[in-house]
Subunit: 198 residues, 2 copies
DNA sequence: GTAAAAACCAAGCAAGCGCTCGTGTTAATT
DNA sequence: AATTAACACGAGCGCTTGCTTGGTTTTTAC
């Protein structure tokens, strides 16, 4: 499923790389900086990754796999009420945005630094995730819970959620759950009844 | 008001730089590439800008000034109906996102490459723009047109709009006006009456 | 206990980077 | 006609970049 092996050592390297890519940006993170943060010399880096680009790809893939796993789990646990499912998906999205923040920020800002091969690989993951969302949005539309063009709704909602990485402060007063519920409430209008928690 | 002079020649250079920064990213756009696209040699570049960084700042400032001008104009022409004002502001936002697309994309992706001085300068422009939005969002909340936390609503809406640069196709079937109206409709729920156009 | 495999290192190459500098060439001002 | 300021040039300095190479150490497997 993944492009290359996933030894625990490699996983740790990817985590470190993600942090540096966020702090400095991909282009400004030199292989020497990466190596030092990993406790090895720059030459040794290329035993784990074919080139710098492959590290970027691995980082982004990590985040996407995590998002997919979380979203599928959330939907499996949620019932079949459209509102609960929408809420659960939004919550899962915010949670992966938080716990795998570095990877997602890198995906957001450095996507264009990928070469064609890596991009092709990752686009499939992205498409799978977006079609998950589209299905849940469609359910809410069919139920009359929300209104509008199905494609636009999905894009606007995911846009609003993704943008949170630019301002959300995990140390602040609001939890991802609360945030998700506020967004859903914003879309459904003033709710006459509270959302039932599964 | 602006950080430096704004001769027509310089304006053209900034436009070219914006295009290259979008195509290649700031770090990968070399001063030689910039110079060649401008029809001069790399050394001559530094007669117009103190350093590469200053070009980035000028590009981003261009976009922000344009956004501010358009938003203020739109609000001045709009009446005092909260829904019309919200719609007008969203439309103005999408229009500047479209006509000054390069500058805004650069602002989005390369903000972190700014040095502290440039960032301080630009943050004031950004704050002015956001408080414009906050005022209009507050009006809509007070009128009962939309619901939710005032800060969150502003952030979610601006997030949804800004994210459009990642998927919006100006050659597609939808105009910025139509897009703006769809977003407002999404927030206000199923409108019992059509929006009056000023 | 030993052989194979995996991880690592020191050294450095070729290329590209932002930027400087001394000089020449226009174009506007006096 | 003389002065000045703005713009452009060519050459290149000092430094950093991603990546390679040949050889050593550490870990794993039997």
């Amino acid at each position: 499923m993944t492009l290359v092996n996933a030894s625990p050592r490699r996983k740790e390297l990817v985590r470190i790389a993600a942090r540096l890519f966020v702090e400095e940006g991909f282009d400004r993170t030199t292989v020497r900086m990466l190596a030092q943060a990993m406790g090895i010399k720059s030459g040794s880096l290329f035993h784990h990754f074919s080139d710098k680009q492959a590290i970027l790809c691995a980082v982004i893939e990590t985040g996407m796999q995590h998002a997919l796993t979380l979203a599928r789990g959330a939907l499996a646990e949620a019932g079949c009420s459209p509102e609960v499912r929408l809420d659960a998906l939004a919550k899962a999205h915010l949670e992966t945005l938080l716990t795998e923040r570095n990877a997602h920020v890198v995906a957001l800002y450095e996507w264009r630094r990928l070469d064609d091969a890596s991009r092709d690989h990752l686009i499939h993951l992205r498409d799978a995730y977006e079609s998950l969302w589209q299905k849940v949005v469609d359910e809410s539309l069919d139920a009359g819970l929300i209104h509008g063009d199905r494609l636009l709704v999905r894009r606007f909602v995911l846009g609003a959620l993704n943008w949170t990485v630019r301002w959300y402060d995990p140390a602040g007063p609001r939890s991802p759950e609360a945030l998700a519920r506020e967004l859903v409430a914003m879309l459904t209008g003033p709710a006459p009844e509270p959302i039932g928690r599964a």
